[in-house]
Subunit: 217 residues, 2 copies
Amino acid sequence: MKEKARCYHHGNLRDALILAAAELLEDSGSFAFSITDAARRAGVSNAAPYRHFRDKEDLLDNVRDLAFMGLHERLEETRGVNLDRAGTAETVIALGLTYLQYARDKKAFFSLMWEDRGQMHPERQNLRHKSTGFEILLNAIENHLVALGEQRELSGLNPRAVRIATQLWALAHGVATLEQNQLLDLFDKAAQAEQILIESSRALLAGTAPKDMSDHK
Amino acid sequence: MKEKARCYHHGNLRDALILAAAELLEDSGSFAFSITDAARRAGVSNAAPYRHFRDKEDLLDNVRDLAFMGLHERLEETRGVNLDRAGTAETVIALGLTYLQYARDKKAFFSLMWEDRGQMHPERQNLRHKSTGFEILLNAIENHLVALGEQRELSGLNPRAVRIATQLWALAHGVATLEQNQLLDLFDKAAQAEQILIESSRALLAGTAPKDMSDHK
DNA sequence: CGCTCAATGTTAACACAATAAACTTTGCAA
DNA sequence: TTGCAAAGTTTATTGTGTTAACATTGAGCG
């Protein structure tokens, strides 16, 4: 391990830049971010970043990855905490609440994650897919379905669980977004995001037809 | 009405600029938009916009308003088409589908609507609130609840309807967003946004506890 | 009619961000 | 030791946001 040499080479500029960018985003908001600032904060010249990133978007892509990984981490943590009550609806809902809380704590990250800047490289798309934490939610729902008496899918995915997971994800995402846009309390001044998310998640789970329904189609 | 004079004054530059901006956004995507381009497209110099807008953000705010109004219009239209089956769940779901379709048709508008650029002026915030079309959804749900046998709220809002509307809105928003990020078919390659939205909306409606439950709290 | 002024455009100028090009330093491997 | 590639630096170009100073126009008023 090399210590910080103040000399010419930074040592690990790439990571330092990603981190600097992340910090800037967090306290300046996801708008108003310049590669120049990131370089300044990392203590290098304005052109240095181009040795490590193709362009600004490339750097932002890496921050985005960081954001997705951060979310993933929190979801993992929530799963860990809820291991003793695996299979319950509470575990599923706890994951949704974690999502919501992440959106609040990391406002800029959350915005960045869903910002569309044209098209993404397929590789990066893949990385994102791995990092969304969808499988964590999926797993919790599979367990829940099993706990409800449904047979566990042995080979591959449980398509019902996949659908429910997608729906719950969308729900949590929508609640988080509306809250950030201050549109949640539009007509109900006392509305709380948590309350709304919990209630709707339960309703969605409750309203989903059990598997034994005739699915002749 | 004055015809287009090629002379010095444009006639209605303000609107022309908003329109130009909207067009640029639509075909270039919501990123990469410059006030310069908008001015060019409107046929005026680069500084002219500053006679009508405080700054870039002010112009974008106006485009955003346009976007919200466009959505509102479509929702109105959907309501009109469904007048004959008012009170049905289908009407409620049709509104959700309209939301989804708008997000697709007006990708850049939709992004712009939810883009966070710091804080908004309260007046503009109000305008946005008026334009979201929430009352349309709310009304459809109130009718639905009445059709289900619930007593119509005579004075003011039906808080249950407000909650359900908020939840359904969040759901539609989430589905639209995930679709735009190509995350809907993450694990289910055949997943269709419409299908997911319809199914989850129904489940949510079905799973919502009827009003007569003991709400001792 | 002709003046004058406010509204609305134009041009010129500045700061600053993205990015490319041409140099410089440095560590490591032959 | 030397020499090359990696990783910085400086410099320069271009484009955008924005302001300031100037120009044109139409409308209201003597």
